[in-house]
């Protein structure tokens, strides 16, 4: 067998104290489509960024046609025939297609020749784009074609595509897959980073699955079942403690979405028309990989976002714990007291009664076990766990009818996690409702038996399986299987 087009062996990479890659390997054969699968944070993109020379591996070996290579920059990997289409496109919006493709060259800029290259590659591959169009004016599909054409203009024979179908319509996706096959048949190699298992198995020749920075499965797509792939992606986790999970109730309706949908500034539908009821005494668990619509769903419920279509009914006071607490929940440079007051800032006028606010801050600190040198300490000086307990405590103190929490235990240790989950449970047990999004399936299952999964802007209720410890239906819904 001929040497592989690109092989990464035993790659390790650490960011700060996070181990992103911990012995990942991946061998890409010439003339093949290679699917790289894994959950968010499994290390797929990091591994391919290393292959593209964007970041350096701490340890490990990369070979190209059997010979060791060291890429110190994108420039070197591009020269070696590797192209990468990033999930968030790396194009200059103010430039034309031709200018973006000429970028990175030397000497005199020949605009005519650059436009000719775009047309020639367009004619040869079917990836037609107007060379004079400004990127900012193009739809995402055409922007993606520009990225691919740029890689081809640099004679790439290995093309890495990071979640390429996330921004495409089904028809566009099919076209892209057909093009990928032609490219591979012509001797090129494609790496397809994706979380869509079914599509990957249908289109790819080879599959590598990463889990927590390690390659846990390398095989031939044909001999792999969907279930086997999903199991490899999710892994054999310890069974969650589901004994305390709350059941759905038939209490008073607190939240009601009636065909509520959200479009972003570019007009793309982030959340498709959704029907959803949340009743008093319930916890609604929300699952979804990044960008699936859960962010918009939570903000609709929290009142941070207005629906572009449909109606949202919600209680007057809803506490909200956003994912990025230092950006969206508190001001790091302000004291705990000031941050306490800030939660009500929109509704209050006139003089601030600081002695009253100090007492309120002290109550949060003592009730929620926030370890701080005092309420005059700045938010920034607290550890992540203490910051989060403060934010959750502050929202709880507003006596909300409901609490919406987005990944509330992110980065917290076991003790802090337990404390935060306890507070969320308390809101529901007191006759309110809680909506919790988490990237940790086990955490959701330990909280509630009522779960919705977001995928591609759709919100789908997953009925609890008979066996409380069975996680397969959730795992499959998360990666878009059975949709």
């Amino acid at each position: 067998m001929s040497a592989s087009a690109l092989a990464l062996t035993d790659i390790h990479k650490t960011f700060g104290d996070t181990r992103a890659l911990d012995g990942a390997s991946c061998t890409i054969r010439r003339g093949s489509i290679h699917a790289l699968l894994g959950e968010n944070g499994a290390g797929k993109t990091t591994l391919m960024r290393i292959a593209f020379g964007m970041i350096a591996a701490d340890q490990g070996q990369i070979t190209r046609h059997g010979a060791p290579v060291h890429f110190r920059s994108e420039r070197e990997s591009i020269a070696a025939g590797i192209g990468m289409v990033h999930q968030h496109f790396m194009l200059i919006p103010a430039f034309t297609v031709a200018e973006n493709i000429a970028l990175g060259g030397r000497g005199r800029l020949d605009a005519v020749a650059a436009a000719e290259t775009v047309r020639r590659i367009g004619a040869a591959t079917g990836l037609a784009i107007d060379p004079q169009a400004r990127i900012a004016d193009l739809p995402v599909g055409a922007q993606q074609r520009t990225e691919i054409v740029r890689a081809l203009a640099h004679d790439a024979d290995v093309l890495i595509l990071d979640e390429p179908t996330a921004v495409l319509t089904p028809t566009e996706s099919d076209e892209l897959y057909r093009w990928m096959r032609r490219f591979a048949d012509g001797g090129g190699a494609v790496v397809l980073i994706t979380h869509r298992v079914r599509e990957a198995l249908a289109v790819a020749d080879d599959v590598t699955v990463l889990r927590r920075g390690r390659s846990v499965l390398q095989g031939v797509a044909k001999s792999l079942t969907e279930d086997a792939a999903v199991t490899a992606i999710v892994g054999d986790r310890l069974a969650p403690d589901v004994s305390a999970a709350l059941m759905p109730t038939d209490g008073e309706v607190l939240f009601a979405l009636e065909a509520a949908a959200v479009r972003d500034a570019d007009g793309r539908q982030r959340l498709r028309p959704t029907q959803l009821l949340v009743r008093s005494g319930e916890i609604l668990g929300v699952l979804g990989v990044e960008g699936s619509g859960q962010r918009e769903l939570l903000r609709l419920l929290a009142g941070r976002l207005a629906p572009s279509e449909g109606r949202v009914q919600r209680p007057d006071v809803v506490g909200f714990v956003p994912e990025d607490r230092l950006h969206d929940a508190v001001i790091p440079a302000f004291s705990l007291t000031e941050n306490t007051t800030l939660a009500e800032a929109g509704a209050l006028r006139g003089r601030v009664d600081w002695s009253r606010e100090t007492v309120r801050a002290q109550t949060i600190v003592s009730d929620h076990d926030v370890r701080a040198s005092g309420v005059q300490a700045t938010m920034r000086s607290l550890s992540g766990g203490n910051q989060q307990r403060f934010v959750v405590g502050r929202e709880r103190q507003r006596s909300p009818r409901a609490l919406v929490a987005e990944n509330p235990t992110r980065g917290l240790d076991v003790r802090a996690t337990a404390r935060v989950l306890e507070t969320i449970r308390a809101v529901a047990l007191a006759g309110g409702a809680a909506v919790v999004y988490s990237t940790d399936l086990d955490e959701i299952l330990s909280l509630t038996r009522r779960v919705v999964v977001c995928f591609d802007g759709f919100v789908r209720e997953v009925s609890a399986p008979a066996d409380a410890e069975d996680r397969t239906p959730y795992a499959r819904a998360l990666v878009g299987a059975d949709a």
Partner: protein
């Protein structure tokens, strides 16, 4: 009337616009790479002292070389902090300007007689260009100027062509729009930024050299008089294009030249009013022009 008022006014406009255009052209290139060089003022004053000192030692040509190198020196320090160490552009730029003003003042006090008032610097006065200078009206206005002005006549089109017509120019503009995307296309973004800052330093130095060698004839403390900041306003008014910047420099040159016109006319207006003119213009323009939409997207970050 024409002879007495208009021609001297226009001639003075171009003369005073020349140092401004050098600084603004440098600032333009730096800003197109996404860097606001607030250290420009520092490069200018360094160019003044460096130019004066080098001219004393080796004549006017060496003087301009010294001016350029002195400007480059301060800009290199700016680039070291901003590009290599990732410091904040605004704070670092302000510090470089303060450093330039302070350092030149201190050095000047070590030997005030060498380059100060009364020293005989080899200056470069107006050089009428053969034939061209005898064109009626335009000849005296455009072609009876000191050499640095002629350099600009050539440099502005070259920079304009370079930015549009070369891969290096494209890379410069790309880095100003999105350094990450430029890097993904194989552009060495950090190096592009450092080189752009270096160019702006050389231009700032030449601005200072022109001031001291072609106009004032001696070094004074703080003689850059805010031209580095005016250059920033000129770039905004010029809509971040080379020709626009050159035109905007003329507008500011005209604002400076107004004071000569007023003196010639013998108007009973306090001349300080007209001295303040370019600075008022700077304030008004920076406050009213909505430049964000066309400014490089990654400017200042």
């Amino acid at each position: 009337m024409l002879e007495l008022l208009l021609i001297p006014f226009l001639e003075a406009t171009i003369r005073t616009a020349t140092p401004l255009a050098f600084a603004a052209l440098g600032e333009l290139v730096s800003e197109r790479a996404g860097v606001i060089n607030l250290g420009m003022e520092g490069s200018i004053i360094a160019g003044c002292l460096g130019g004066a000192a080098a001219a004393v030692l080796g004549g006017s040509a060496v003087g301009y070389l010294g001016a350029a190198l002195a400007g480059l020196l301060l800009a290199s320090l700016f680039a070291l902090f901003v590009v290599r160490l990732g410091s904040d552009q605004i704070i670092t730029g302000t510090a470089i300007t303060v450093l330039g003003l302070g350092l030149t003042g201190t050095l000047f006090h070590l030997a005030p007689t060498m380059v100060g008032v009364g020293a005989t610097l080899p200056t470069t006065g107006p050089v009428p260009l053969p034939l061209l200078s005898s064109i009626p009206l335009f000849g005296r206005v455009l072609f009876t100027q000191p050499l640095p002005t002629y350099v600009l006549y050539v440099l502005v089109p070259i920079v304009a062509w370079w930015m549009r017509g070369t891969h290096a120019g494209l890379a410069l503009r790309a880095v100003g729009e999105s350094p990450v995307a430029a890097a993904a296309a194989g552009v060495p973004a950090a190096r592009v930024r450092a080189l752009a800052i270096g160019f702006s330093g050389i231009m700032g130095g030449l601005c200072g050299g022109t001031l001291v060698l072609a106009q004032v004839g001696s070094f004074n403390e703080n003689m850059s008089a805010g031209r580095g900041f005016i250059a920033i306003a000129i770039v905004v008014l010029g809509r971040w294009t080379p020709y626009g910047t050159a035109g905007a420099a003329l507008v500011f040159g005209g604002a400076f030249a107004l004071q000569y016109l007023v003196q010639t006319l013998g108007l009973a207006l306090p001349y300080q009013l007209f001295l303040a003119m370019p600075y008022v213009l700077t304030l008004v323009l920076l406050a009213t022009l909505h430049g964000r939409a066309i400014a490089p997207a990654h400017l200042g970050r």
